[in-house]
């Protein structure tokens, strides 16, 4: 379970407060969506939770299954079960996708005291999972995300998620840059991973992704705070009326 309490975060370099007291609980098995206008702090939240540098937590806490996330290195957070699907997956020339994934899977296993996956077993599992995401063998061999289309990059994120089997998945604007077909494919991949012991936090600007990944709870974020929480109908309200009404209401 992901538990965020009164989280305040500022940019390290500029003295600029981005998150101003976020409270959020994501239970296992649930899909929470965070929506909000640009600049509301949605992506910052995802980066702070996954441990990216450049941010300073000035107040509050974030725990995963009771463990203090904010004290951990990014790799330890990953091993503890946290996964962030990036809005802009990073291209890494020279590192093969397959090598990257196998290194990651085995590093996490090692950190958890589990036995490493053999090359043969890994190959079998990845082929199976890649197939359902329509990722071909050629894409697995290529350097990480290099020369991938927007859709391929996002599918590759979901493949990583499927291989790493995290307990808490954060999807940061996974729908950005995707056409409808690509979005469906990605959503199917996410839905296939839904399970009673896995929580999701889906960050999105638009409602359309939520047509495919049905949320249990929807939060609206604005100016570094969650200003409204509701059911799936809240997302529809945003779709129909924009953020203006909700923001006005909150003030």
């Amino acid at each position: 379970m992901l538990q965020i309490k009164n989280l305040h975060v500022k940019l390290e370099e500029e003295d600029k407060q981005i998150l101003k007291g976020v409270d959020l609980v994501v239970e296992p098995g649930k899909v929470h969506a965070i929506m909000g206008p640009n600049g509301s702090g949605k992506s910052t939240l995802s980066y702070v939770l996954s441990g990216r540098g450049g941010y300073e937590v000035t107040e509050g806490s974030a725990t995963l299954d009771g463990a203090d996330l904010l004290e951990m290195e990014p790799e330890a957070r990953a091993a503890a079960g946290l996964f962030l699907a990036f809005q802009y997956p990073v291209e890494i020339p020279g590192v093969g996708n397959m090598t990257f994934l196998r290194t990651a899977v085995n590093a996490q296993r090692k950190a958890r005291g589990q036995e490493e996956m053999s090359a043969g077993e890994f190959l079998k599992v990845i082929r199976e999972k890649a197939k359902t995401l329509k990722i071909d063998a050629e894409m697995l061999k290529r350097p990480v995300n290099v020369g991938f289309s927007g859709g391929e990059k996002k599918r590759n994120e979901i493949l990583q998620m499927a291989m790493l089997e995290p307990t808490m998945c954060i999807l940061d604007e996974t729908d950005s840059g995707l056409d409808v077909d690509a979005m469906k494919l990605v959503a199917e991949g996410v839905n296939a991973l839904r399970s009673p012991d896995r929580g999701f936090l889906v960050i999105t600007h638009y409602q359309r992704l939520l047509d495919h990944i049905k949320p249990d709870v929807v939060h609206i974020m604005s100016d570094g705070r969650i200003i409204k929480t509701g059911g799936p109908e809240l997302a529809l309200e945003v779709e129909n009326n924009g953020y203006a009404d909700i923001l006005a209401e909150a003030v």
Binding site: G53, P74, L84, V90, I92, T99, F100, A104, A111
Partner: protein, 431 residues
């Protein structure tokens, strides 16, 4: 100002020659040595004020005696190219070590020791020994190579007349703290023949090495060398190659550590449709100084040359690259490429690069680039966010940075040896 500098160079040479003796072998070799000595005396030894030595101080390379160097013990790693079926020729402190070497009987390959060359019929070497070196003295002087041609007593002469079944591996062991090795090798790959030459090891406390390679029409020469981990290495190497029509030439060098390593390569493409690739991957830490100086001359049509040099530097390490592509008049349809890059792991390290193109033909395609950069933080975070520990992530990115140079190794088994060696070094260093 010219006079004092010339005097200085001559004084340095006199001091150096005072502790050397011109070998008296007789025959063609004496003649070649005499000519080399004359060339050397016309030049003197390099000094700091030479443009070509602007970034690399030749002091330890020209000093009468080598600085002391701890023999390097690499017993904690698998010997280089150990898994590859090859003919091993071993030199210890620059002297051929027969007992440790294989019988060089290999179909289509004749191997002679330089030390026995005057006594044996190696007439082909007359046209090679010191000849490519002499040609390589223009337009830039390379006195340390001339010194080598004049004073080397050891080395191998290899003539290849067919496709060699397995690589020849020159292994250089270093046991004495004060050894000063001068090794000179000549390789002639006859028309249509093929050879892979491997080199590994620290050689001596100080080492001056020359390799002259003549690749005849339609022949192939593949060269892979490791200079690894011996901290005290003081080495200068010259590779001179002359390529005939339609031949393929590839040379790759892996360098780690070493307080002074200067690797020069001088390649002339004299036959049409020849291909020459030169690549280097270097990793340096602390008082590491490594210099790649490359001169590629296109003097024929439709030739291709590539220079790919990558250096990973940290803790004040210095990497130098001086690379030139000269396209002579008439060398139309030349395809020349040169890239030199450094990955600086901290702000103390330095990469000095001088990429040059000089083109006298109008229908050519040449490009060059040189960059310095740090580890990409975004990529590092991406890897870590997937559970890869920071050091392992850094190693992955370092290997990725070097990958383009490693890709120049054609043979998969040899490439794998280099790659796993590099990984081992990285893990030891960063683990």
């Amino acid at each position: 100002m010219a006079q004092p500098q010339a005097t200085q160079k001559q004084e340095a040479l006199a001091a150096r020659l005072a502790v050397l003796r011109l070998p008296t072998s007789g025959g063609w070799l004496s003649l070649a040595r005499g000519l080399a000595e004359t060339r050397l005396k016309g030049m003197g030894l390099p000094g700091r004020r030479d443009e070509y030595w602007r970034w690399t101080n030749p002091a330890v390379l020209i000093a009468p005696e080598p600085g002391p160097a701890q023999p390097y013990d690499a017993r904690d790693e698998v010997p280089a190219f150990d898994a590859i079926d090859r003919v091993k020729l071993v030199f210890t402190d620059g002297v051929f070590h027969a007992a440790a070497s294989d019988d060089p009987a290999l179909a289509g390959v004749e191997v002679s020791r330089l030390a026995e060359a005057s006594a044996r019929d190696v007439h082909w070497a007359h046209e090679l020994y010191g000849v490519l070196e002499a040609a390589g003295q223009k337009p830039v002087e390379r006195p340390l190579a001339a010194l080598n041609s004049a004073y080397a007593t050891e080395g191998v002469l290899i003539r290849v007349t067919a496709k060699a079944e397995k690589p020849v591996h020159l292994i250089y062991n270093h046991e004495s703290e004060v050894s000063d090795a001068i090794l000179h090798h000549c390789v002639k790959v006859e028309e249509g023949a093929e050879l892979t030459l491997l080199e590994s090891g620290p050689a001596a406390a100080r080492c001056n090495m020359v390799l002259e390679v003549l690749v005849a029409d339609g022949a192939s020469f593949h060269h892979v060398r490791t200079q690894g981990r011996d901290h005290d290495r003081q080495a200068v190497t010259h590779l001179f190659a002359r390529l005939g029509e339609g031949c393929r030439f590839k040379s790759f060098t892996l360098t780690a550590n070493g307080v002074m390593t200067r690797n020069e390569a001088v390649v002339e493409l004299l036959g049409d449709d020849a291909v020459a690739h030169l690549a280097g991957a270097a990793m340096g830490d602390g008082d590491f100084h490594q210099d790649d100086t490359v001169f590629v001359t296109h003097d024929a049509e439709r030739c291709e040359s590539r220079q790919v040099f990558k250096k990973v530097l940290r803790n004040g390490a210095v990497g130098v690259f001086q690379g030139k592509i000269l396209v002579k008049p008439g060398a139309q349809k030349t395809d020349g490429y040169q890239i030199s890059q450094s990955l600086l792991l901290d702000e103390d390290s330095q990469f000095l690069a001088k990429p040059e193109l000089e083109i006298y033909a109008d229908d050519v395609s040449c490009s060059h680039g040189s960059t310095s950069g740090a580890i990409d933080d975004t990529a590092l975070f991406y890897l870590r966010s997937r559970g890869v520990p920071e050091r392992a992530a850094q190693s992955l990115l370092v290997l990725a940075f070097l990958a383009e140079a490693l890709e120049e190794i054609e043979d998969e088994a040899i490439a794998e040896d280099i790659r796993s060696r590099l990984e081992g070094w990285l893990n030891r260093r960063m683990g």
